[in-house]
Amino acid sequence: MQLEEERSLCQRYANRIRSYGRCHLRDGAAAEDLVQQVLLVLLQSLRAGRVKDVQNLDKYVFGICRNASMEMRRRTIRARRIAEQSAVAAPPEGYEPSSPLDAAQLDRCLERLEPRARGVVLATFVDERDAQEVGRSMGLSAGNVRVIRHRALAQLQRCMQRSEL
């Protein structure tokens, strides 16, 4: 496999692995470790000819990602700096760390949310409460919390995108 093809694969999968890591490991640094680890395993497998079905690479990468993530969780997320391998190896070609979001801008966008929606978003993603708990604490049904939550997140995303323009 040519270097250019490898770079293109890394670019294709880096964001997907990062999103998976952020979602399931709930830690930005651990997600970056996951990206590097999965890409290294992928490239090593391709170079060694261990990938049987190259046409079905999405599924293969997902499998590596899920297994690596489970392994990381077993080692406890916050301890991070997972496999020594990824700590000592250079990041693969095409890997680029994610750029951090402007925290001050996020605060301004949060301030624009209606107070109840802001409370739901913060209780869900900062205090890590599920819809039942948030609903109980705010006198709302869980269903109502879910509706408020996804609308508020969509509004936040729009606000952040507008401010990037």
Binding site: S19, C23, D58, F125, E128, A131, M138, M160, Q161
Partner: protein
């Protein structure tokens, strides 16, 4: 999963509310679908940044970590007040990043502490269960951040501390801080 998941489903995945099988089906789809991967990456950026934010109630160790990391924290000691009126004032001046209200409370026999944050009118009201607290120091730390401005439009919130012991919840007291936002 062949169909693209709805935005609500993606948010539920991020909130950890899908069961294992459903989550795996959505995750697998996201690896193979260009449009969903892009949508999720945008969601990941916002939710990831939200998860870096500071919770409503923090431990003393958390406060010390924030200070060690260079955050400018101003701590205000707050005593109970009956009836609930402001017993302290805190100002969000330009060189302060975070206001911390150290609520003084006898929580020495508590198994768990819950904190209620409520508008003087009662709405909105948030109950945060099982918060960190310092049993020996008798302290519960509220972290007040700039983006909280306007969350309680009817006046400064009342913080009510509850101690839970052997499954019974009793109210320790109400605390009010006069917030000056600028």
């Amino acid at each position: 999963m062949n169909e693209c998941p709805s935005y609500e489903t993606l948010v539920a995945l991020w909130a950890g509310e899908l069961d294992e099988r459903a989550a795996e089906a959505v995750d697998e789809h996201l690896f193979g679908c260009e449009a969903c991967a892009a949508e999720t990456a945008r969601l990941a950026t916002v939710v990831g940044a939200l998860r870096e934010k500071i919770p409503f109630v923090i431990s003393r160790a958390h406060r010390e970590r924030l200070e060690a990391a260079g955050m400018r924290v101003q701590v205000t000691e707050v005593d109970r007040s009956t009836p609930p009126v402001a017993s302290a004032t805190a100002r969000f001046v330009a060189d302060v990043d975070l206001l911390v209200f150290a609520l003084r409370a006898d929580v020495s026999d508590a198994d768990r502490v819950d904190v209620e944050l409520a508008s003087p009118t009662g709405t909105p009201r948030y109950l945060v269960e099982d918060v960190p607290f310092d049993r020996e120091a008798g302290e519960v730390l509220i972290a007040c951040q700039r983006h909280f401005e306007g969350m309680f439009p009817d006046g400064d919130p009342i913080f009510t501390v509850h101690a839970v012991q052997a499954g019974e919840r009793r109210t320790i007291g109400d605390y009010v801080v006069e917030h000056i936002w600028r």
